[in-house]
Amino acid sequence: MRTYIKIQFQSHVVLIATNACISDSWIVSFASLNFSSSKTEKLWENPWKHALPQKTKTLATVEEVPVDWSYVERLMPIEIVPDVPKHESYPTPSGWTPPTEAGKTHSYFVRRRPDHLLPLYLERKRDLLNEKTLDFDYVELVTVRNVDGDVFACEQDLRGYLEENLGHPVASHVDELKGRIKVKGAPRALIEQFFYSKGF
């Protein structure tokens, strides 16, 4: 960028064309070189003063502007799962239902996940080798987690419900310490329906 600097020097006006950006310190050194130094201090008395560019500090002034940040705040990432807002009717269009008081009357209790959903997890596991097709069969297991209280009673009720609806036997496994039930041969939607109907 080509810039021009106007320096007034003994009633002459000199225009200096420069290629670089020129800071204030350069202008100051020009001025001191020409006339101001002749009165007080010779150039050679303190050459370092003129050789080095002078450092000047500029402190920014801060002015606080009242801004309505609510529109920005709602764009910020959500850090903690918020509470569920009130809906007009349940189940919601997505099929979600909040836990009800009826859920506390059983001998077992299924806690919701932190994101307010039922703790049902799908798992696909390799089964035995199919000798006719020579491909491995796969089974789909559904794990119910966070079961408090009598896990075996929960498993009994769940299996009864599933077998009644599906019309075929359903395999299940209980891990009491972890509070988990594994179910084989039942869709997750049906298990979800069972827990919603129980009020969990």
Binding site: I80, P82, R111, P114, D115
Partner: protein, 298 residues
């Protein structure tokens, strides 16, 4: 959100009232119950409680009862998850620096020691071949090798909850009102105190603040079995290593706040950890240790 609520709760009633009453009269038993954030609704979950005592006297003077959050102090005793945490803590920082040299890296050995044929000796091309003594190693240990890995966040959080639960259910977790600026720094006093309260062979004091001043700091210098740790240094290994863990009230609030924040954190919990990103931090871990005598205590 959680911190705001907790702060509000602390400032509103329970904690401030408890501290004020404790300073004024220690005779009456105080009700230091508090509202627990997102307490589970399950009827099978009981709210655990702990006595709050003071460290000013040798005898265990009860100042009140405090409610603990069931999600932190009453989890299922998953020993397997605790074990994963302990294993990870002992293993992730291991680095093997041994490097056994191959025949190419050994000095010399460039010349064929004797002709290939007609000497009656073995056909060899270098005195640094692996079959030679003082030869290179064919399949040696090739360091530096790292065992770094990162446990998933959920496992580490659950591990801490399990360790705290175990400590509390085994009656090895104690809550005190304050551990800063205590009057008595005499090692005899602290030995008697731990003896009178059945604290066991080793005690870990945990506080919210980075630095501890006063009597406990002096005693901690003198007694090797007594240690102090900030909340952010709390880990499964230390919780299991020390016989007794003593939390201050502020540390209790902080631990619950941090753990519950992570339990209820939005988004996935499977952040990717690479050794590359943490190498510098791990290697310079003990750089800020100021004490020339004491090594960093895990």
């Amino acid at each position: 959100m959680l911190s705001r609520q907790l702060r509000h709760l602390i400032s509103s009633r329970a904690f401030s009232a408890a501290v004020q009453d404790a300073t004024s009269s220690s005779d009456t038993i105080l009700d230091t119950r508090r509202e627990l954030w997102r307490k589970p609704e399950s009827p099978f979950v009981k709210t655990p409680q702990a006595w709050v005592s003071s460290l000013e006297t040798v005898e265990d003077e009860k100042l009140g009862l405090v409610d603990l959050h069931p999600d932190v102090f009453r989890t299922a005793p998953r020993i397997d998850i605790l074990h994963r945490n302990l294993t990870w803590q002992s293993v992730y920082r291991n680095v093997q620096m041994t490097k056994m040299l191959t025949k190419a890296e050994m000095p010399g050995g460039g010349r064929k020691p004797w002709p290939q044929k007609k000497t009656g000796r073995a056909h060899v091309g270098s005195i640094r071949a692996p079959q030679f003594i003082r030869g290179g190693f064919a399949n040696g240990v090739r360091g530096p090798r790292t065992w770094f890995y990162m446990l998933p966040d959920a496992i580490r959080i659950q591990g801490l909850c399990v360790a705290l639960t175990l400590k509390h259910t085994q009656d090895d977790l104690h809550i005190v009102d304050n551990i800063q600026n205590l009057q008595n720094g005499d090692p005899k006093f602290w030995t008697d105190l731990c003896e009178a309260r059945n604290y066991g062979y080793s005690v870990l004091f945990v506080d919210d603040a980075d630095e501890v001043t006063g009597g406990l700091a002096e005693a901690q210098q003198a007694l090797p079995w007594l240690n102090v740790m900030p909340v952010y240094g709390l880990n499964c290994f230390s919780l299991i290593k020390y016989d007794t863990v003593v939390l201050s009230r502020s540390a209790l609030e902080r631990i619950e706040e941090r753990l519950l924040t992570h339990i209820h954190r939005a988004g996935p919990m499977n952040k990717k950890y690479r050794y590359m990103d943490y190498k510098e931090k791990i290697l310079q871990e003990a750089e800020a240790e100021e004490d020339p005598l004491m090594p960093p205590v895990v």
